[in-house]
Amino acid sequence: MTELPPTIPGSLNSLHTKNFFSEVPLNLDPQSPIILGVDEAGRGPVMGPMVYAVSYCTKDYQDNILIPKYEFDDSKKLTDPVRRSLFQKMWCPLPEVQDEPPTGSAKRTEIDGVGYATTCITPVDISTGMLRYPPSKNYNLNAQAHDVTMNLIQGVLDQGVNIDHVYVDTVGPPASYQKKLEGRFPHVKFTVAKKADSLYCIVSVASVVAKVTRDILVDSLRSSPGEIIGSGYPSDPKTTAWLRKNQSPLFAWPKEMVRFSWQTCETLMNNPSTGSIPIEWEEQFLNSKKNMAQQWAAKSMVNNEPITLDNWFSS
């Protein structure tokens, strides 16, 4: 597969989060309710983006085309070639219409009744959100995930798609999340469940879109084709080996690749044997008996105030 899926180009080499919305399928039967699935890929890894995907079609299309003809399932249960082949059938124009002049409308694909959208949350955005200061201003991963999901659903609604029922795969408590979604979209039915990607075909489709998109983006992070970075999970020895090998003393790792807010990174940066230069941040002193001023103040400080611009100049 030489051509890239359309979810990729906007997010390649992007420092920040980008969205992609496919065109709305032409044959969405108005007589059949539209269902939408939500899933993510790359929540746990210390490297690469976290990708959220939604996919939607009519219930009839799911029941009569997707389920009987295709092997959509939880993306982790499918092999990489199968996942890529399934997604390709959703975005790659059929050969017989490939050379037709552009008409401005959606080109025919094998799986032509499914629309989809993605948000690729970059390592920079994940880390900066989670590491805001003061801690009360943190934008944690769950909040990021919920906001991105709601923005994707809103984006599809804004395309004029009349969504009837949304199925969401979640890792957190389903009840409170479902309530939050129902509050935001009162005219849409929601089913929030753990392992929804195994239970509902339309969520499986979203799971495949998210996983293929993330895998290609992670591949693109390699500085050379032979570079081994592993799966990106902290438990993967290849990933931890890459982190150790590529750690620099001051800035540690390329921010485009690594989620600094993961404990794995913190541990490596605090380990003197890695050659890391210690950098101290204000939050390290919040629960300490010695406040930041006392810790920081070299004896050159006249008093115990933090070193800020105003007292630095006036002291």
């Binding site: 920040h16 955005d125 880390s127 900066t128 201003k137 921010k255 101290e280 611009l309």
Partner: protein, 138 residues
């Protein structure tokens, strides 16, 4: 004399010396408006600040002392002469010269993303200091 930009960053780096890591890091993030953030987090009402990253933390900064007749230098002062054990007060060797090492063409003061209020407060206080200084020395 070589000109530099001085960055006042909100952390303590336990290292003094040269590094080549700035070649690939600490660049100004000109696409920060694309960052995933909550609407309520935009406390600066769209004011454009200098955004950079250190180890996953975003820092936001604002230039100060960049013009208005001031010239800024990095200077080498006298060596430490003595230190009061109780107060930590240091007396400098006032007989030695203050020697400019580099010219600072631009100074940027930073705070952490989320702590922009403190950044603005600091710059406001510093401006007051300059105003008073101007009155005293005019």
């Amino acid at each position: 004399m070589t000109e530099y930009t001085a960055h006042f960053i909100p952390c303590k780096v336990r290292y003094n010396g040269a590094t080549e890591e700035f070649v690939d890091n600490f660049h100004c993030d000109n696409e920060d408006d694309l960052t995933l953030k909550r609407k309520e987090d935009d406390s600066l009402n769209g004011e454009k600040l200098c955004v950079r990253h250190i180890r996953g933390r975003k820092i936001v900064g604002k230039k100060f002392l960049g013009s208005d007749g001031y010239q800024t230098f990095l200077v080498k002062t006298g060596t430490r002469e003595g230190e009061d054990g109780e107060t930590g007060q240091i007396s400098l060797d006032t007989t030695s010269k203050i020697e400019p090492i580099a010219k600072i063409s631009s100074m940027i003061n930073y705070e952490r993303d989320g702590n922009e209020e403190r950044l603005l407060e600091e710059l406001e206080k510093f401006q007051q200091f300059l105003d008073v200084s101007d009155v005293i020395h005019s």
